[in-house]
Symmetry: D2
């Protein structure tokens, strides 16, 4: 495929997660477009497709994948439906981004893996999105430098405000701790060899019968421990934290700071060395906002008046610097074109 | 213009900033493409154009704007060249994103403003990108709620590791404090009415003759004060901080925490309520990484093996929960397709 | 004087501050006792004296200083009365701890200084207690190491919840900023050479007519600047912060962290290397609590039961370590002597 | 005993910990004095006694306790010697502060407890000094308010730079985790019912054969879990942290911040409302420094010159406020009496 060609994507499943991916590909992602959406609820698929230029709604995933417009597949249907969608994509040799879990159990996951191995090349990226989170990425990079030495333990906290009504005690493991399972494997580069789960008396904030919170200890084949507090009815917020304890220091993410380390008698974080790092997001959002407004036929953001006012103040500032005195700023009258608001 | 049509942009100036905007539009921004680049250095323009599909190099900005492919202009040339580029864009009624400063002095900025007013509609967005920085946006939003009461003072810190060789004492005002001038006007919604600049004995880390650091006090027509420490050879990092002191509390950004407030006997920040807030960036980067790899014909990221391993561990975890005991995990053999790395 | 002899102190002034010093010398300070209290309000002096063993009440300071029991004087009366008390102590060559301000104006302070110089030796310690605050002490020590280079600027914040009814706009300077005046001189080792005061529109939380907040800029004879936000009706709490900006880094105290530095690409603080540093206060308070209880004829704090329970749990812990298994703890029955509470 | 009488204390054991307690009682503690020190090493006892006025050295603890000067006993000898010293104090009905551990094993602790119960009143305070640490005290107080709801889990971190040469794997439990055992019991008000110890592959920073770090999970009879990371060769510092996870929020101490809570969508800490809270330690240290200097016949701390200079600057400040202008400060010449240093 020519790198410059825009990728046509079929999104399978248009529930909350699928619809959010449709919006993301349509509005945020560069180099791709939503060519097709699939849902067994035809009305829902058509409603989503209606909001996207050149997007067709399907009920059958295989039919969507057969379309000449479709170059790749994003699977966001319920876990139970993943195996079928993945095998259909394999049959057409289409790359797939598959939301987690890959499939609901180890046996079906093994079948999918065997099918991919039979193809002889990878097609699947699993949706463990924490591997793309800036804080986890920085933590992984720091561990990779070897500055802290070998990781010995990983302490994880995973807290949700409240669990949805259908949540069961097992789902704290399969739906929530599943993320820490992947994070542990990825950060440490170990496989997990044993699991222990301890349950304190449940919180009175948890629905009756739900074992919440739980405390999970994972042991790895590299001799490390990873403990997880999972608390899905903590009531106060959504919080995901991790601290890697290594031979020569620790590093922690997720508690309102940037990455914080303990090392050589000091705790703290790094300071960027450059505006490209500090304001990368601001530049991206600025240009995206300008493109979006321009496509709508609008002009928004800082105006010529703002540019003029800054120039006038800076001129006064330079005089203040040169004279060592307070200098008053005088501005032209503000044209109505620029509204009343600064 | 149809919202769905991809915007063709001419980037004027292909120095460090212009080239970075070309990369941004080509790789990050959704709904736009670089149709043209302009530089008085033809070789530089052509080198940049060569890296972008369907992009033409020009020496003359007006010629580029005349192209049928160009719907909008991004001006990233040196400040002295802005007025001419802006007036050329006005002549063709093209929307412009103009890097700061709008122009180097108040008189020329006034001429540009008068030309835009004569057109009768806005065409210009000035590149004060801090208005798009997440931390400043949160601070502005908080001030807008009125929870903290009326702002009385704004304390700003603006620190660079080292200044470039051509930097003069005036440029600390016109190049650096210019950002705080805009931030003060935007956050407070006031115009600036007077400026005082105080200079301590220069740092021995500053080049000879440079008045660095400086301390600038801005007074506003709304009765507020905004003080700015500008220190362009601080040596230790790039740091931009602001604290708004209001009638009922203060709010601070930029020092390794998220937005921190002092209010009603408590200091601290907010906790997100949802994973959509905490992991928005991770989802965006995940999908962008998948699209980029797929367009290159590659499959990267978490593999089917990772999905299978997670399923196997979660199954063991559920058994551990149900039995209250440590459960060992057993995995199938890892196929060579997935490499040696976890 | 023999170092081991207990110091007899006359406390002059038994208002809020004086009474607190009486309590402090009686209950907290080692090696001293309150021998006399003085107040023009005889009843108040007697009430305070009644709570302290061997303490005599006086109306006249000079009479108290004449007592053979009095070795030193602590002046905590109103500022206007300080000059007379200091001169009386000088007449008897008694050491004095004098609450700030030394006297209310420069002329009277000069008279006191001339009298002390005439004596030929120092007798006075002025009550600038911030020089004894752990955070300021650490900041001063850090500046003294030279690690950060020469100090260029000092940013100070001084916030009170609400001002007392008698507070005037001048008192924000003479009563509040007086502390930052001393802190600036002490931290930097410079004299102050000029002062500028800027006032934003007063907060609606300030009493009518009070210029609150104010922004004060001090210039020093060493070429440094020290700016002070003084805000005595901030509404949210009592907050005293300082950031020293030096040639190679900055150091900040007072905002809910320990001393935090910016240096060489890192922000953060130090980690103690030893329990003697981390728990010094706990040991002091533990022993003081034990002494106080014992003198009252009581036994409080962790009991023999607590010691026993810890021993039993640790024994089980060692078995758990040795066997790699969960070990249950069994305790003897808890004797009634130790109450019901753990 | 009359509350005002100074308490005569016998300190048993004059090793590192005992000597530190002697210094503390002599120099820091109000209302007590060291009447006797006891050590089987007579030379060491005498050396310590020589530094304290009116202190007698003994080799035999019982003999020291028989002295009329001794009102109470502080036991700081090795753990194995505690039982005998405690029983001797019981025989004379003397109150005891006994360093932890009470005794080295549960059986001997039980014997001590039975002896005290037989007396019918408490004599022993065990030296679990964390119960007096400001941060733990604040955490306990917060839990007591019920704002956070019932505690469900306690996460503890206990890290030392390096272990002493004689440290064994069991001592990580009996010497180190012993503190968390008490903290868990005290903070939660529960007894501990079971213990599990997990060991990752030891750190290469630990001496050969030492199982370090260890991860200990304590279960309580109140249905809570308390996990402890104990890592006695972490290399970077001494760190003691705890986070209580409750039904409606969490609270954390020990990581370079004051007490930080997660509650109702906010993380953060409290701001003092008053200078008596913020500067309590500074006032105590100021007065102690003055008393100590005066007893040595010296005058230290802020001088009359400092008081005068502050008065002069404040006068200039008031004029700057009144005139809205920069006002220069002029000072008298500095008398030689006050040295050259500000």
């Amino acid at each position: 495929m020519n790198r410059r060609e825009t990728l046509g994507i079929a999104v399978v499943g248009t529930g909350r997660m699928g619809a959010d991916h449709v919006r993301r590909i349509d509005r945020v992602i560069s180099g791709a477009r939503v060519a097709a959406v699939v849902d067994i609820d035809r009305a829902r698929a058509e409603a989503v497709a209606a909001g996207v230029d050149g997007c067709t709604a399907y009920v059958d995933a295989d039919e969507a994948m057969a379309s000449a417009d479709v170059d790749a597949v994003l699977v966001a249907s319920s876990g139970a439906a993943h195996e079928e969608a993945l095998l259909a994509a394999f049959a057409r040799d289409l790359p797939v981004l598959c939301e987690k879990p890959l499939t609901p159990d180890a046996a079906s996951a093994l079948r999918v893996m065997e099918a991919e191995v039979a193809l002889g090349h990878r097609l699947v990226q699993v949706g463990f999105m924490r591997r793309y989170d800036t804080e986890y990425v920085r933590l992984k990079a720091l561990l990779g430098t070897g500055q802290l030495g070998r990781p010995l333990m990983l302490h994880n906290r995973h807290r949700n405000v409240a669990s949805p009504p259908f949540f069961t005690s097992s789902m704290l493991i399969t739906d929530s701790v599943a993320h820490e399972v992947d994070v542990t494997r990825w950060l440490l580069g170990h496989e997990i060899s044993a699991v222990t789960v301890l349950c304190p008396e449940p919180s009175s904030g948890a629905p009756g019968g739900l074992r919440d919170p739980q405390f999970v200890v994972l042991e790895t084949d590299g001799g490390a421990l990873s403990d997880v507090e999972i608390f899905v009815n903590c009531g106060f917020g959504y919080q995901v934290q991790a601290e890697a304890v290594c031979e020569r220091g620790t590093a922690r993410i997720g508690d309102g700071h940037e990455l914080v380390t303990n090392m050589a008698g000091r705790w703290g974080g790094t300071i960027p060395q450059d505006w490209t790092e500090r304001f990368a997001q601001a530049y991206d959002d600025e240009v995206q906002a300008w493109v979006d407004a321009t496509r709508r036929g609008e002009v928004t953001g800082p105006s010529t008046w703002d540019g003029y006012a800054a120039a006038a103040v800076c001129e006064a500032g330079v005089r203040a610097l040169e004279t060592g005195r307070r200098v008053e700023v005088s501005l032209a009258e503000r044209p109505g074109l620029y509204g009343a608001e600064v």
